[in-house]
């Protein structure tokens, strides 16, 4: 298959039937619409293309810069489309909560302006709201700025009505239940409208994130009314999920279905299973349910790692420093700051290891000490003694607390470790240097 431009590959994604042995459903067929197979890796390829395709000639003629205010999949798709057509792309958004999304856009050569936003949802009274900032830039430069504004643009749901929903109906004729996480709510609204026209008994379930929790691409209920497109009465039911429930669903799809999707797809799957399993036994006719695989998994690695460190082998080793309790362990001998000079004179071969950060080490330090900043130091000594066993080692930190902890740990590793009592603070207070 040969295509002229990569945007020709947007849409026409296949559906995968989730095996009944996995869902445990007797009366419902559950289908996943594989939107992660879109060329830039997400459902948002459709949103971006749907909003921009009719304006491309104008954008190229004016050589406009494309702006976006959320640092997720839509931005990535817009950046890709901008690149194909020789246009610039600029992201003005709150500090990215998903590191890899930002890195992908940096590789795409997007201009990124991150804003310290006071509130976590659209707030027109906040002078740092990205939407407000872009709209101001756009009105000051009407011929050079293009802001498709996915949260308010009616082309967003319209393109999903025309493509995503139609494709699904072409494949399975009718849909009884549809599950979608709510971000802009554009895709789920567009799709729901079509399914409901087609089947009056259709049920649509909107999925939100728990308040004070974070699932990338899904908003909490309290944030949804600011999006512009959202209308609660479109949905028959709303469920809210935690990030861990979303990740559980994601892992099952990743591991048992071979769908390498991200956490919002996992939320859709978890919500679908919870909901359908409850009603499955009450059904007398066969039903069809659909959820979306929104995007790919790769750009959520640090998000997953933060919440499920055990997956990455960050498991507790025996004798690991993370589980060492220096309160109950026998302490390492302490050297008071007063006695340090005398003690060093008696132990000329002693190593002095200062575990503070390198810039503080540069500012003030005990002569002849070496610097091993604490995060490196901890990895260095975890389950191991890197020091020569015949030499005493004096650990130094700011106030002698962390060094006491590590010295006691090193003792359990047969290291001849000592703690400088009171740390560099006590040593400094004792006027060992000219103040």
């Amino acid at each position: 298959m040969i295509v002229k431009t990569i945007t020709d590959l947007i849409g026409n994604t296949p559906m995968l039937e989730i095996p009944p042995e996995l869902t445990g459903l007797q009366n419902i067929d559950l289908y996943a619409k594989l939107e992660h197979l879109n060329p830039f890796g997400s459902l948002k390829d459709r949103t971006a293309w749907g909003m921009i395709k009719d304006d491309l000639d104008m954008l190229k003629k004016d050589n406009r810069t494309i702006y976006e205010n959320s640092s997720g999949n839509t931005a990535k798709s817009l950046a890709a489309i901008a690149g194909i057509h020789g246009l610039k792309f600029k992201l003005v958004a709150a500090l990215s909560k998903v590191e890899e999304q930002k890195h992908v856009m940096q590789i795409q050569d997007a201009e990124i302006q991150e804003i310290a936003v006071a509130s976590d949802c659209f707030d027109p009274s906040d002078p740092n709201d990205p939407q407000f900032l872009i709209e101001r830039t756009a009105s000051a430069n009407p011929n050079s700025v293009y802001f498709p504004s996915q949260f308010t643009n009616s082309k967003n749901p319209a393109f999903h009505e025309a493509t995503t929903a139609r494709e699904i109906l072409d494949d399975i004729d009718t849909v009884d239940y549809f599950f979608a996480g709510l971000g802009t709510s554009g895709s789920s609204m567009g799709i729901t409208n079509v399914f409901r026209q087609h089947n009056p008994d259709f049920t649509s379930i909107g999925i939100t994130a728990r308040a004070n929790d974070f699932i990338p691409g899904i908003r909490a209920m309290g944030q949804l009314w600011e999006t512009g497109l959202f209308r609660k009465d479109v949905y028959n039911d709303m469920v809210s999920l935690s990030s861990m429930e979303a990740l559980d669903g994601m892992l099952e799809l990743n591991r048992k279905c071979g769908i390498l999707c991200g956490p919002s797809s996992g939320a859709n799957y978890t919500a679908a299973l919870d909901y359908l399993r409850k009603i499955d036994g009450t059904l007398t006719t066969r039903k069809k349910a659909v959820f979306l695989i929104n995007d790919r998994m790769e750009w959520y690695i640090s998000y997953v790692r933060e919440r499920m460190p055990e997956i990455f082998g960050d498991r507790a080793k025996e004798n690991a420093i993370q589980h060492f309790d220096s309160e109950t362990a026998s302490p390492a001998p302490a050297i008071s700051a007063d006695d340090l000079d005398q003690w060093l004179a008696q132990h000329p071969d002693a190593l002095i290891v200062d575990i503070r950060s390198s810039d503080s080490f540069k500012m003030l330090t005990i002569p002849n000490s070496m610097n091993m900043p604490v995060e490196m130091f901890e990895k260095w000594i975890d389950n191991n003694n890197p020091f020569p066993s015949d030499k005493p080692v004096v650990l130094v930190c700011a106030i002698g607390e962390r060094s006491r902890h590590y010295a006691a740990y090193l003792r359990t590793m047969n290291c001849n470790a000592y703690n400088l009592d009171g740390g560099i603070m006590a040593w400094y207070d004792d006027c060992k240097i000219a103040a």
Binding site: I115, P127, A398
Partner: protein
């Protein structure tokens, strides 16, 4: 289809000690009838929980420093006297408040003076050796001149308050602000201070960021730390960094109810359910062609982290400008101390305001109004932005009729807009003359921050209420003794 409660309300978070006190109905009725409405009831013992919460965060992160109790949100003396028994410092903002905190047990070494300062205020601070949080170059020059004129040999201890933070990695438009000296002016200011080392003991920088997100705070802290290093390079000896206050408190009792409430408010603005606000004001939201726009003018009432937990999370944030090291490590490793100035969070659950019902009547639109013998200056409700449900104590519940459609509390001012809370309230029974309406958690910024004797209505009286071995004691607020003087072992 909809799960929205048709009587949407926000249950307030109430400290167990206050829950118990609200059971002492006879005591509260007799206090009200004897002392008069409105009545501010202080719970000085409750500040201990707030102090401990912050202290725990310092301990957990091995940080040395000071907790300055910012006293300006409330004039209560009992809370100050109680706090003086703990290892906390105090932050004052006027000459009179300096005199007051000293009478409540804080010696000058534990006091920091903030706010705009007139010559009298500066002179008192210099005379008493109170640390001055300097807010402008003019103030600095005034301190130097005053110091010389007074012929002091002891140096003036100062913090310098900063503003105008910026970062190469993240941009934002700071809200304009009257506080602080711009960071770009600091290098010159430091040179000026170096030349006056005989006058000033420069102890570090302070800042205050109002209602900002964590990101702006981190940028401010990075700027502050960079300037601290600059001061050290120039030969000054800053001891720590003062990161101000602004720590969250929990006004609502739970997240779910708070979410439901906000949803209901927006639905009412859209017209899907009856109005939930006086005069359908929307509290910041408005209906534009069927779409809800605008933003809330009220606080977020429920936070994932508050007080010491919030501080703990903050000091464990990483600072990109410092090699992505944790903030606590940077502070500790540079041998600096951390100073915080919590006000609202320190006064959390330390006081409630009680008013006695005088009458009932319908409004022009037919809303149920309950008139209370107090007024909006005693509660500062709109600015205070507290939307929680007040607690009603009935003299005899059998005479009260049930409340179906919600009601509004109005005050005793002869004006048409004396509304005590702008969102509809839903007590089970309609309060009647003589019943008590208790507004929760009013000590920070609500009960006396801007009260006045407008229309010659009285100011609220304050009493302190405390529990000891299951018995309840009370005293006039200014007579509260944190030491149990009746049970001393006198030789």
């Amino acid at each position: 289809m909809s799960h929205t409660n048709i009587r949407p309300f926000v249950t307030p978070r109430i400290h167990p000690r206050i829950q118990q006190a609200l059971q002492q109905k006879e005591l509260l009725f007799s206090l009200m009838d004897g002392v008069g409405s409105p009545l501010n009831v202080m719970f000085p013992q409750n500040i201990d929980d707030n102090i401990k919460s912050f202290q725990d965060a310092f301990k957990k992160n091995f940080l040395r420093g000071r907790i300055y109790f910012t006293s300006k949100p409330c004039k209560s003396e009992s809370v100050l006297r109680h706090a003086a028994m703990s290892d906390v410092f105090v932050d004052i903002s006027s000459p009179k408040s300096l005199a007051k905190v000293m009478s409540c047990g804080f010696n000058p070494a534990r006091i920091e003076a903030t706010g705009p300062k007139n010559p009298e205020y500066i002179m008192m601070c210099l005379q008493l050796d109170v640390l001055l949080n300097v807010d402008s170059m003019d103030e600095l020059k005034m301190i130097a001149a005053m110091h010389r004129k007074m012929g002091l040999t002891r140096k003036a201890r100062i913090y310098v308050r900063l503003c105008g933070f910026s970062s190469p990695r993240i941009s934002f438009t700071p809200q304009d602000n009257t506080f602080g000296i711009h960071v770009k002016d600091i290098p010159d200011l430091l040179d000026w201070l170096v030349e006056r080392k005989d006058i000033f003991d420069f102890q570090g920088y302070a800042f205050y960021i109002s209602g900002a997100g964590n990101e702006q705070r981190l940028v401010a802290i990075e700027n502050q730390l960079e300037l601290t290093m600059l001061a050290i390079q120039k030969g000054l000896k800053p001891k720590g960094i003062d990161i101000g206050g602004g720590f969250n408190t929990q006004y609502a009792d739970n997240q779910e109810e708070w979410d439901q409430y906000q949803l209901a408010l927006k639905q009412s603005v859209k017209g899907d359910i009856p109005s939930q606000t006086w005069n359908n004001s929307g509290l910041g939201y408005r209906n534009e062609n069927g779409v809800v726009t605008g933003g809330p003018i009220f606080f977020n009432h429920f936070h994932a982290l508050t007080k010491g937990d919030e501080l703990d999370a903050l000091v464990n944030q990483r600072l990109p400008q410092f090699g992505n090291t944790k903030m606590a490590d940077v502070i500790r490793d540079h041998l600096l101390e951390l100073y915080i100035e919590p006000g609202r969070a320190m006064l959390d659950q330390c006081g409630i305001t009680i008013g006695r019902v005088s009458f009932n009547k319908p409004s022009t639109w037919g809303e149920e109004l309950v008139g209370i013998d107090m007024n909006q200056t005693n509660l500062r409700s709109l600015q205070h932005k507290n939307l929680t449900q007040s607690v009603v104590l009935h003299r005899d519940p059998s005479r009260n009729k049930p409340n179906h459609n919600g009601l509004y509390y109005i005050g005793n001012l002869c004006v048409s807009y004396d509304i005590l809370q702008y969102n509809k309230q839903f007590p089970d029974l309609v309060p009647q003359a003589g019943d008590l309406v208790c507004f929760m958690n009013t000590a920070p910024y609500a009960m006396d921050f801007s009260e006045s004797e407008t229309l010659m209505q009285p100011l609220a009286r304050k009493i302190a209420l405390w529990s000891q071995d299951d018995t309840w004691n009370w005293a006039l607020d200014e007579k509260y003794m944190p030491v149990d003087f009746m049970n001393l072992e006198i030789e």
